[in-house]
C-alpha cells in the first residue's frame, strides 16, 4: 500500500525550467563561415584515432566565446566560463592557458583560423563559439577544429531562453567530449544530498547541478530527510524521512510533483539504494527486530528479506549489473564490507583493511570493477578509498583533512562526490577517480550523503 503525501515536494522549482532548448547539428560550411567550407570533414571515428595518441596528452584551446550581438555579452561570458570549467573538471584534455591565445588571435578577420599559430601554442583541438541574442532567444554556435588536420570536425547551433545559459553550456561541454573523443560527459547531471540549511533540527533533500550551481530543495517538510538515491532514469528519488515519526522509505517523483511512502512494515527503514535496472530498491529495516537488508519493488510490492544475522547489516549498494549487492555488516565485530547476490547467497567479504568500513558505492563503469567506500585506518581519520576487484589493491583518495565519507560515483565512473568536514562543517565535494581535482560544491549549512544522478539525455 502506498501513502500519498501531498505538498511535501517542492516541484517545478527545480525542474520547471524543463522547457528545453533546441540544438541542431550541421556540417562544415553552413552559417556563413566561409573559410572552413573548403575543408573536407573526415568521419568522426577516423578523427578520434588520429587525435588520440595515447603516448601524450591532447591539448585543447577554448578561447572565450565571441559575442555576436552586444546584449549577448554576459551570456557569452557565462557560457565560456561554464564550458571551460566543465572541460577542466572532466580532465580528459589539457587546456592550453588562455594567456597564450593572443598569438593565434591576431588575424583581423576573427572568423579566420590561423591553424599554424594555434599549433605553435600547442593546441591539438580548438573550440570556437559565438553567442548572440535574436528576438530574446539565446543562440550559440559551436565549432570544433582539428588543428593539425586543419579542419572543422563538428559544428552545432544551440537555441534557447536566456535563463537556460548554464544548461546550454553544460550541453555544449558534453557534446564536445563526445565529438572530440567519444567520452560520456557528466556535465548535465545533478547531485542530490541532504542539507540542514533551513534549520538545525531538520534536514531536507536538495538537488544541484554537478558543479554545485542551482541548489534547490526537493522536500520541505521540516523533518529529518536523509540519504537520497536516484532512480536510474533520473525521474525519481528515494530517500528516508522522519516526517511520520519513524524513519521510513519515501519516493519523490520529481517531474510529477508527487510523493509516496512505501510500506515497509514496522520498524525503521534506512539507507535505500535504487537498483541500476530500476526495478528494485534495497534498504535496511528493523521490522524483524534487527538491522537486516531487504528488497522492495519500486512500486512498493514484493518485499523480501536478504540477510539473516544478529549483527548490523546495512548500507546496501548495487553492482552495475544489478545482480550483486555490497553492504556493511559488523558481524565480525567491526563494520566491514561484504557482497552477495540478490538472493542473499554467495556471501563474500570485501574489506579487510581498517577498523571501520562503510558507505560502499560500486563503480558504474563496465571496464573497471571497483568499489569506493569510507575507511578508517586503525584509529585515524575517515577517508575515501577505492578497492579494485581485479588487482585486489586498495587506493586512498583523500588524506586525513577532516573526515571524508559517503562517496558516490559519477555515472561515467570517472569522478566521485563525497562529504568532507575539512572546512569545519560537513560539505559536499567532488573529485576525480584518482583523488585529484577536489572541488567544494556546497557552503551553506551542513550537507551530507551526496548521490550523483544519472545521465538522462533529456534535452536532446
Amino acid at each position: 500500500m502506498k501513502h500519498l503525501l501531498r505538498a511535501t515536494i517542492v516541484m517545478g522549482i527545480i525542474f520547471g525550467a524543463l522547457s528545453s532548448f533546441h540544438a541542431t547539428t550541421y556540417s562544415s560550411g553552413s552559417r556563413g563561415v566561409v573559410q572552413e567550407q573548403a575543408l573536407s570533414k573526415p568521419t568522426a571515428g577516423d578523427w578520434y584515432i588520429r587525435i588520440t595518441d595515447p603516448t601524450r596528452p591532447v591539448y585543447m584551446a577554448i578561447p572565450d566565446f565571441e559575442t555576436g550581438t552586444a546584449d549577448a555579452a554576459t551570456f557569452s561570458s557565462t557560457i565560456s566560463s561554464v564550458v571551460w570549467n566543465d572541460m577542466e573538471f572532466a580532465s580528459i584534455y589539457r587546456l592550453v592557458p588562455k594567456r597564450n591565445y593572443r598569438i593565434a588571435q591576431t588575424s583581423s578577420d576573427r572568423r579566420k583560423i590561423d591553424f599554424y599559430q594555434w599549433e605553435s601554442i600547442g593546441a591539438d583541438i580548438l573550440i570556437r563559439g559565438v553567442t548572440e541574442i535574436q528576438r530574446e532567444t539565446l543562440i550559440v554556435e559551436v565549432r570544433i577544429y582539428a588543428i593539425r588536420a586543419q579542419e572543422m570536425v563538428f559544428g552545432k547551433r544551440y537555441e534557447g531562453p536566456t535563463t537556460a545559459a548554464r544548461r546550454m553550456a553544460h550541453r555544449i561541454a558534453d557534446d564536445i567530449l563526445i565529438q572530440a573523443g567519444n567520452y560520456r560527459g557528466i556535465n548535465q547531471t545533478k547531485v542530490a544530498f541532504a542539507s540542514n540549511r533551513r534549520g538545525e533540527r531538520s534536514k531536507e533533500i536538495y538537488v544541484m547541478d554537478y558543479d554545485g550551481y542551482s541548489q534547490k530543495p526537493l522536500t520541505a517538510n521540516r523533518s529529518l530527510n536523509l540519504t537520497p538515491t536516484w532512480s536510474p532514469d533520473g525521474r525519481a528519488l528515494g530517500y528516508i524521512s522522519y516526517r511520520t515519526g519513524t524513519p521510513s522509505l519515501h519516493i519523490a517523483h520529481i517531474y510529477e510533483g508527487r510523493g509516496e511512502r512505501l510500506d515497509t512494515g514496522d520498524g525503521m527503514a534506512i539507507n535505500p539504494a535504487w537498483a541500476p535496472d530500476g526495478t528494485k530498491i534495497a534498504f535496511t529495516s528493523t521490522r524483524d527486530g534487527n538491522s537486516e537488508l531487504y528488497l522492495i519493488n519500486a512500486d512498493g510490492t514484493g518485499m523480501r528479506r536478504l540477510t539473516h544475522h544478529p549483527g548490523i547489516d546495512t548500507s546496501p549498494c548495487w553492482s552495475p549489473t544489478s545482480r550483486e549487492i555490497a553492504f556493511t555488516s559488523d558481524r565480525t565485530g567491526s563494520p566491514q564490507l561484504y557482497a552477495m547476490d540478490t538472493e542473499g547467497l554467495n556471501l563474500r567479504r570485501i574489506s579487510y583493511r581498517g577498523s571501520y568500513n562503510d558507505s560502499p558505492s560500486w563503480s558504474p563503469s563496465r571496464q573497471r570493477s571497483e568499489i569506493a567506500f569510507t575507511s578508517r585506518i586503525e584509529r585515524g581519520p575517515f577517508d575515501i578509498v577505492v578497492y579494485d576487484f581485479q588487482t585486489r589493491q586498495t587506493r586512498q583518495l583523500t588524506t586525513g583533512r577532516g573526515s571524508n565519507e559517503s562517496p558516490d560515483w559519477s555515472p561515467n565512473g570517472l569522478h566521485l562526490v563525497f562529504t568532507s568536514s575539512r572546512t569545519g562543517s560537513d560539505q559536499i565535494f567532488s573529485m576525480n577517480r584518482d583523488g585529484s581535482n577536489q572541488r567544494r560544491l556546497t557552503r551553506v549549512g551542513k550537507n551530507t550523503t551526496p548521490q550523483w544522478g544519472p545521465i538522462t539525455g533529456q534535452d536532446s
Binding site: L226, T374, E405
Partner: protein, 202 residues
C-alpha cells in the same frame, strides 16, 4: 539548556538518589558488571499508594512505612506532575546514558542511571517515553543510523527487563544528526554518544 536547569536537574537527581538510596538500600541491585539486564527486583521505594507495584517475589519491606522520607516520596518528588510536557522535557528528568565509540554495550554508569530511570518510571507510571539513540560525528551517516537504533534498543531492553511496560516505551535512531555538543573533541563526542529520553505523554 540553561544553568538553572542544570542545577535544578542536579538537585532533582540528588534528591531522587537520596530517596532511592534510603528506601532501597538493602534491596538487591543488579551487579554493575552483569552483561544482561536484571529482571525486576523489588525495591521498597514507596509505591503510589493507590497502586502497589507489580512484584512477583516480594521481599520484606526494608523501610518502616512511617519513615519521614517515605512520606515525602509518596508525593511528587520530582515536582513534575503538574508540568506541561515541554517543561518536563526541559528539565530532563531522565538523564542521558553514555556509550563507547562504535559500541552498543551498556556501560556500568549507564546501568546505574537506567536503574534510577526505572524507579522514576515506576513512580510516574503514566509517563510514556521515546528512547533516542545518538552517535558522535565520527563514522558515516549511514552506519550511525543503524548504530543509534541498536543503542536505543539496548536501553529499551534494559528498561523492559526492569519491569517497565513495553507499551510505554518507543525507540528511534537519530544517528549522528543531532549532536548535543557541537564540538569536535573527545569531550563532545562522549556527550553525543547517548541514549536520550523524551517524555512523550504523561
Amino acid at each position: 539548556m540553561s544553568i538553572s536547569h542544570v542545577s535544578r536537574n542536579l538537585w532533582m537527581a540528588l534528591l531522587f538518589a537520596m530517596l532511592v538510596g534510603a528506601c532501597g538500600g538493602k534491596s538487591d541491585r543488579p551487579p554493575a558488571t552483569t552483561s544482561t539486564p536484571p529482571t525486576r527486583t523489588t525495591r521498597a521505594t514507596a509505591p503510589p499508594p493507590e497502586r502497589p507495584p507489580e512484584v512477583i517475589d516480594t521481599p520484606p519491606p526494608v523501610v518502616d512505612p512511617g519513615d519521614d522520607l517515605l512520606m515525602i516520596a509518596e508525593g511528587d518528588p520530582l515536582g513534575i506532575r503538574d508540568m506541561p510536557l515541554d517543561q518536563i522535557n526541559d528539565l530532563s528528568p531522565l538523564a542521558d546514558v553514555p556509550f563507547d565509540f562504535d559500541s552498543v554495550a551498556l556501560l556500568d554508569e549507564a546501568r546505574v542511571t537506567l536503574n534510577a530511570h526505572a524507579n522514576i518510571l515506576a513512580r510516574y507510571d503514566s509517563l510514556t517515553v521515546l528512547i533516542e539513540g545518538h552517535c558522535d560525528e565520527r563514522g558515516t551517516v549511514e552506519y550511525n543510523l543503524a548504530l543509534g537504533e541498536r543503542r536505543a534498543n539496548a536501553v529499551y531492553n534494559y528498561l523492559i527487563n526492569l519491569g517497565i511496560s513495553a507499551s510505554r516505551l518507543k525507540t528511534i535512531s537519530y544517528g549522528k544528526e543531532f549532536p548535543k555538543d557541537p564540538g569536535h573533541n573527545d569531550q563532545a563526542w562522549a556527550a553525543n554518544r547517548r541514549g536520550h529520553f523524551e517524555i512523550t505523554g504523561k
